[in-house]
């Protein structure tokens, strides 16, 4: 499993690096909310879910898309806005989805998708299909009223849902100390009929274990679970650059987190467990090739015809 987790982590990181490499070519015409830094959360949680389980995300969903599907062909086709994407270029980076893999949608309105995830969990419970739903959001979303409505509703309806808070302390550029009138979100959510788990680790295996534990608690207590996980957003809010010189955060902070980078951490673990360097490099090369190939396919694919503009507006 260590290897499987590493493969996923490396895929996420490499895909983001490739986006950074190619973005200046101005062919991926979509705002990029990058996932660098949060890979352990995406991989750890998604690895604990089955292909039938459902996830919902935000406009910052590259990591959960890749973690849940492992696909890069469709991913890059959509980044390049091409017709070969299942979404025909209508979604862009902010509205990725993959219904076949249970990735059921995103919202670029902060907090907007959270009650939708609650509804999906409600239907799953009603149908008795045993599926779990995980909804990913940031600490910025916690400031939204609809987050609290969703926690309350999930609590009274006793739903099989994981609320995964990817806490990087920021809502765009505003630190949570300027936004939140309380010290501990976990304290407050614990006041609801909820299981609350939290960790500051960047170790994907620990996060995976926590997510598995969350599922068990949901089953045994018939209460939803709130997972408070921390990470550091390496890049700017939107875009492919770093912004440590902008005055609202320092590079020192970043370096502290980079010292425990999730991909580097897992790679080190593989070596410690006896994996050969060549073996790891082979994995990395294969993934690199996979991504390069996907980009190549995407670049040469056609755009959708004009008639596609009018498809799927109504029923």
């Amino acid at each position: 499993m260590n290897i499987a987790l590493y493969k996923k982590l490396f895929l996420l990181r490499k895909a983001e690096e490739k986006i950074r490499e190619h973005y200046h070519e101005d062919e991926m015409k979509t705002p990029m909310h990058m996932s660098m830094g949060e890979e352990a959360i995406a991989v750890g949680v998604c690895h604990a879910l089955s292909v039938d389980d459902q996830i919902f995300g935000t406009y910052r969903s590259h990591a959960i898309y890749l973690a849940k599907t492992g696909d890069t062909d469709n991913f890059f086709a959509e980044m390049y806005g091409k017709d070969t994407s299942f979404q025909r270029g209508k979604a862009g980076s902010m509205h990725l989805c993959a219904p076949e893999s249970g990735f059921m949608g995103t919202s670029a309105i902060v907090g907007g998708i959270i009650p939708v995830a609650v509804g999906a969990a409600f239907a799953n419970k009603q149908k008795g299909n045993g599926k779990y739903t995980a909804v990913f959001f940031g600490d910025g979303a916690i400031d939204e009223g609809v987050f609290w409505e969703s926690i309350n509703l999930a609590s009274i309806m006793k739903l099989p849902i994981l609320f995964v808070c990817e806490d990087n302390n920021l809502a765009v550029h505003t630190h949570k100390s300027l936004r939140q009138g309380y010290k501990s979100i976990t304290d407050i959510v614990s006041q609801f009929e909820f299981n609350v788990l939290s960790s500051e680790t960047t170790d994907v295996e620990l996060i995976h274990k926590l997510a598995c534990n969350a599922k068990e608690l949901i089953d045994s207590t018939q209460k939803p679970c709130f997972l408070n996980l921390k990470y550091y957003r390496y890049l700017e809010h939107v875009g492919i650059g770093e912004d440590f010189d902008r005055g609202y955060r320092s590079k020192d902070e970043f370096l502290k987190w980079y010292a425990v980078d999730p991909i580097a951490l897992q790679r080190k673990k593989l070596i410690e467990k006896g994996c050969q360097e060549e073996e790891i490099q082979k994995i990395e090369t294969d993934i690199d090739n996979q991504i390069n190939n996907s980009i190549k396919l995407a670049k040469s694919a056609p755009f959708a015809d004009e008639c596609i503009l009018y498809e799927n507006v109504f029923a």
Binding site: C97, G105, S107, I113, V116, G119, Q126, N152, A315
Partner: protein, 364 residues
């Protein structure tokens, strides 16, 4: 699938409220995925009688009350729909829907499109236009224009039991997208005759109806204003031999433009009577349709009738001024047809629509 409900009531008479109740009952009994959720749907009032007893009959996992969290609850309906349930979400007043606009406009309307057609969100939102007895600013709005402006939303305003019995089952069983239905509180007790005509189950009822034919003026109306137009037309026919043609817009988001244009080309005179304000509303949109296609057919400027351009007041005297009444409507039509503001045609002495509908029960 045939509309058994319509067949059952064809040729008969049924109140608006009863038609709504039957539509709710029918959906729950024929479609195991239907759920009804909203404030008070399972209580002793049952949303003005339209959901009374349904929780007992079908279970409170299918018909249930919700906390006052309109955005959260609407989001839940969307998510439930994604996973195969068919939610009917209810609001006692159209005004409360405003709290959930983020979900309706940013998600519900756009979900299918923005994910490239990979998802469907079939579901139904019922809301009621409050009217009279001091409903006031926030219990009286009629927001069809806000919703119909957004691509992706189907908006209907049933003006009769017929429309309910045609459109509601079609939404639940055949339509694979979101539908917003705006009902009028003052019509709930009115009895309507149901036409005994075979309805093509494959044809979408999300369109307009011609409820009266005439050569002198085209009246395009929504909701209760269709009834008002019919009363005015009846009066003008007997007092002055004026023949009004009345089109019930019915589906605000998908009006029958051809029907409207054909009518205006025939009569040359157009009056639009809507339940809401004129600016940027149904009145404005119907004018746009005519101006873009058949403006030269107009022999006179268009006349529009709606709420006065103010917030709704509560004192009855002010309220009666705020809403259009039959006297004013009839006068407007008479002036338009005769081209003369001193037309001399006797007008009905009715200055408060609310008073009338509280007493008048139909059948229409």
């Amino acid at each position: 699938m045939n509309n058994d409900l319509l067949t059952q009531y064809s040729g008969g008479v049924i109140t608006y409220r009863e038609a709504l109740y039957q539509a709710m009952h029918y959906s729950l009994s024929k479609n195991p995925n239907v759920i009804i959720m909203g404030q008070g749907v399972d209580d002793h009032k049952g949303l003005f009688g339209t959901t009374l007893g349904l929780a007992t009959e079908f279970g409170n996992d299918r018909v249930f009350d919700t906390p006052l969290a309109e955005e959260g609850v609407t989001g839940i309906a969307i998510g439930a729909s994604l996973n195969g349930l068919y939610p009917i979400l209810t609001h006692m007043r159209t005004d409360f829907v405003l709290v959930s606009m983020n979900q309706i406009i940013n998600l519900l309307a756009k979900y299918k499109y923005m994910f490239g057609g990979l998802f469907e969100v079939p579901m139904f939102i019922r809301m009621v236009i409050g009217r009279s007895w001091g409903q006031g600013a926030q219990h009286s709005q009629s927001l069809q224009s806000l919703f119909a402006h957004i691509p992706g939303l189907t908006v209907i305003m049933p003006s009769s039991s017929q429309s309910i019995l045609e459109c509601y089952p079609y939404s639940y069983f055949r339509h694979r997208g979101p539908v917003l239905a705006i009902e009028h509180r003052l019509m709930y007790d009115i009895k309507f005759k149901v036409e005994n005509i075979p309805v093509d189950a494959n044809k979408s009822p999300f369109t307009s109806y011609k409820v009266r034919s005439g050569k002198d003026v085209s009246i395009v109306a929504t909701s209760i204003m269709v009834l008002e137009a019919e009363r005015a037309a009846h009066h003008l026919a007997s007092e002055a031999g004026i023949e009004c043609e009345i089109i019930d817009l019915n589906c605000i988001s998908h009006p029958d433009k051809f029907m409207i244009l054909k009518s205006v080309e025939k009569t040359g005179k157009l009056l639009i009577a809507d339940t809401s304000w004129q600016a940027y509303g149904v009145c404005a949109e119907v004018c746009r349709i005519v101006c873009e296609h058949s403006v030269t057919a107009l022999k006179s400027p268009v006349v529009t009738v709606g709420m006065q351009p103010s917030t709704c007041p509560t004192a009855k005297t002010l309220e009666d001024m705020f809403y259009p009444n039959l006297t004013e409507l009839t006068d407007s039509i008479a002036r338009l047809v005769t081209g003369n503001k001193d037309h001399g045609i006797p007008l009905p002495d009715e200055h408060s629509m609310a008073d009338v509908y509280k007493k008048f029960k139909g059948p229409f």
